[in-house]
Symmetry: C2
């Protein structure tokens, strides 16, 4: 975890060998950046991760990516070191560019249907943030649908496969996962018991337990308590980007 | 224009011959649906257009598309008549499924960059709606950037091509066009003079004039005054979906 220091105002731009390896600008707790880590790890594409303090960004970051957003993927092998932004666009690019472990169905209709389900998951994402920012748990658990999560329960049950992608996770699994991983943190933040009901979500609960064992998910996994700790720092207005880095340092020194 | 009657509560579901032709559920003035019309027409894919009154939708529409949104594309040749939603997902599907007139660059990096520019155009779309709903022209023309339109001026100038797609319009051209066509309506709705300044936007002005001559654009084109008439009806809370249909009927009867 010692590599998760977030660069900030005054931090020099990190220098890497001229090794042609992709550079991913990220933030350790950003779920959108998490998506790109998952796809890179699922496809076993090597990359350098560079973590950015999003409150006080290093001066040079606006020269790397004019949007100054993360995730941003720098394609160091391409002329002019172009930078891609937007998690879904980056992930779709990686899937086409590195087709060895395909994450979408080959069938074009099924692929489009997968993209619709990814898009629709935005409803859950919005409800998730609304909850974190407004302390309104009703928004998320309204009518026991968990903001549309029931659609995914039904869909996976219908497919009768371990993952949405079949025997292994596909693009939909990975695009949903960052928020599903963080779902487990809510019980540490709110008094209300945030647990998926085993009666209502038996398929998604099995899916979650399988996802946690997936190689790519393991590579970037944090438990609910750790996510809660970061989220609480963010809710207090002082997002503690270097939480993991500082903890690792303390352990090392201790 | 007699085919632009919008089906509503009580309208029977239209019956088409079993001809395998795509069915596009649309609304004549919806810019997102407009995108799909453009791509279908650019690729010369035949389709049946079915216009939906979005305020009072026909009862059967929720059975066609559970989202009850337009655009919705029914793939009548596929088993179970699946329906795709979301303009960008539909357009990307059509581009892959009907590759004869490719609308994206072949190069995967350039394709991803085109998608980023399509995504980024959302800023302009948001400002456009903000203006229409809040009567706040400053939002759109702020700092003379026209809500990010200057990015597209610079980009097209840099490319030195007629269209973003090169010698003919590509996906970016068509995904931007519905709002660019409607831009010309603002001068009829607001007192402030909404014109692209020839000093600041010479490239986009040339582009607009070329786009208007494109076959696919012509197929679905409405002039600024007509768009303004519809928009005013929408702003008054009584969107006049059948405006064109009723006008055509009056002309016929007259």
């Amino acid at each position: 975890m010692s590599n998760t220091q977030h660069l900030t105002i005054g931090s020099p731009k990190p220098v890497f060998p001229d090794d042609g390896i992709l550079k991913l600008y990220s933030m350790r707790f950003c779920p959108y950046a998490h998506r790109v880590h998952l796809v890179l790890d699922a496809k076993k594409i090597p990359y350098h991760a560079i973590y950015i303090n999003l409150r006080d960004k290093p001066e040079w970051f606006s020269l790397v990516s004019s949007s100054t957003k993360v995730p941003a993927l720098e394609l160091v092998k391409e002329q002019g070191n172009p930078v891609l932004i937007e998690s879904l666009i980056i992930c779709d690019y990686l899937d086409e560019k590195y087709p060895e472990v395909p994450l979408y169905p080959k069938d074009l209709l099924k692929k489009a249907q997968e993209k619709i389900l990814i898009e629709r998951f935005g409803q859950f994402i919005n409800a998730f943030y609304y909850l974190l920012l407004h302390d309104n748990p009703e928004q998320l658990v309204d009518t026991d649908h968990y903001a549309g999560l029931v659609v995914y329960e039904e869909e996976l049950k219908r497919r009768c496969t371990k993952f949405f992608g079949g025997d292994s996770p596909g693009m939909l699994d990975y695009m949903m996962w960052p928020w599903c991983e963080r779902f487990d943190s809510l019980k540490y933040t709110f008094e209300q018991k945030f647990e998926l009901s085993p009666e209502r979500f038996p398929t998604l609960i099995k899916w979650r337990d399988l996802m946690i064992q997936d190689h790519a998910v393991k590579c970037f996994y944090l438990d609910g308590q750790t996510h809660a700790k970061y989220m609480n720092s963010r809710r207090s207005g002082q997002a503690d980007y270097n939480m993991l880095y500082n903890e690792a340092k303390r352990v090392k020194l201790g």
